[in-house]
């Protein structure tokens, strides 16, 4: 399979995914959707690591390991983030970014 799909294609996919995630994070109004944007960015990074490992440095497994750790930490991050969202929802009955504006310049 590696013979048919060049590395560039994989990198194009991951870079697109990264910036779609960033775009989603910056434009979406719902906090959960913003979190999904971040997850998309992290998964793009995972693709990068795994692809570099498989195509360029197949003798090592550093990239694979790194992506495993990223997956685990992203889960921890999401757990804490969602706990805080629930706390916010209990306080202001909304998880819309527009309503998270008690503190401003």
């Amino acid at each position: 399979m590696i013979d048919h799909v060049p590395l560039t294609h994989v990198l194009i996919v991951s870079t697109l995914m990264f910036f779609i995630g960033a775009y989603g994070f910056l434009t979406r109004k719902n906090l959960v959707t913003m979190l999904i944007g971040v997850e998309l960015m992290l998964n793009a990074v995972n693709i990068n690591f795994v692809a570099f490992d498989r195509y360029l440095f197949p003798s090592g497994i550093e990239g694979h390991f790194f992506s495993l750790f990223i997956i685990a930490i992203a889960a921890a991050e999401a757990a804490v983030a969602i706990a805080i969202f629930i706390n916010l929802y209990r306080n202001i009955r909304s998880i819309d970014v527009e309503h998270v504006d008690k503190m401003k310049y």
Binding site: M34, V45, I73, L88, M103
Partner: protein, 471 residues
Amino acid sequence: MTWNELLLMRHEWTLIGLALVLIILEIGLSDEQKNRITISASLLMASITIVGFIPAEHGSIFGGMYVTDPIRILMKNILNIGALIIFLQSNAWLSKASMKNRITEFYLLLVSSLIGVNYMISAGHFLMFYLGLELLTIPIAALAAYEQYNSKSAEAGIKLILSSAFSSAILLFGLSVLYGATGNLYFAGFSFTGSLVTVLGFIFFFSGLAFKISIVPFHLWTADVYEGSPTSVTSYLSVVSKGAAVFVLAILLFTLFRVIQPVWRDVLYATAILTMTIGNLFAIRQQNLKRFLAFSSIAQAGFILLGVINGGGLGMATVIYFVLMYVFSNLAAFGVVQTVEQSTGKLNIDDYNGFYKTNPKLSLTMMLALFSLAGIPPLAGFFGKFFLFTAVAENGFYTLLLVAVLNTVISLYYYLLVVKAMFINKSESPIPVITSDGFMRTSLLIAATGIIVLGFYSPVFDYIMELCTTY
């Protein structure tokens, strides 16, 4: 793995031990005895700080994943001192009725974050660095949202966790590009070619780290998070978390990224000017003291970058010395703010009018802290800034030096506004006489002593300078 190798990780082991002791105490103590946790945690933390200073061997373990050397140990000790002062300062807040059952969790989360700080500083591999960074950030986000019924606190938590998740995603993208370019993630064997790909990776990596230090284009979360979080957490964010990120940035730039020094010099040159200026200009118009200290800490981060730009032993020494002084000065200021906030709920600069008449000791401590942050001669802050300026002058960046000196003058203006409110302005209803508890007094005493001693006792800097000559 031998016993001696395990001892290399003594900072982490002792902190993990503290975390376990806290869990056992939480199970073992009845609800009435919970207030003893503060004193046991503080005493244990104090002994951990002292143990950290005992001279010991250094080297690397886990195949180079974990590295210690005298400079890294010094950095950890400085941040441990900061954490100890924060432990002492949290008592007033944790004694409130609404916090009664949640004292242990606070210390537990703070200790886990501190373990993250230690691992991050000792990292010898990018995976270790990333794990430390996340272990540092995630508990702090939970702590920022610690006041359950305060929507400002939840808002601060959300802003912190989302912006830090976003920034670590950017940092990781940079890392993946660096991995693709070099095929190695160990700091020791990192072979840069200085090609365009590595520069791209570096820029992403730097942006991610800049979020944590709140360097200017990435500083927008700072003021909101600092204002909304409980004050103890704010002081942790502004001192320990920022200090750790600065240290790691310095270590990485001085060793790993030395090959692309011209690139990062330009980046730091621009961001240092922006950070100092924007931090100072926004600090002038703040009324809330926590926001005020947030912008002042952004400006201080800009000053720290002056030392990093130097890129040699002098730069490293000045960065460490400045953070040491910054730990004491900032924590003294936050301690006074917290005392007033806990007993009266007042946070505005106007509320401090006539503060000296009622609380002379607290206002003198605050004055000392603000003078030190502004850089007034006999105090530690003056020498911190002076050494940073020396480091910049050594490289011949005279324009940058001029901007920095002008910024010191601006910062003097707004620090003096607070001092003026306390000492000169009159008020119909000043803050009543406050009696702070023993923990807070001890912490303020440590911080004030630190500010004065660092200013008058020069062997401290000589010692740091001696350690840093290898860079």
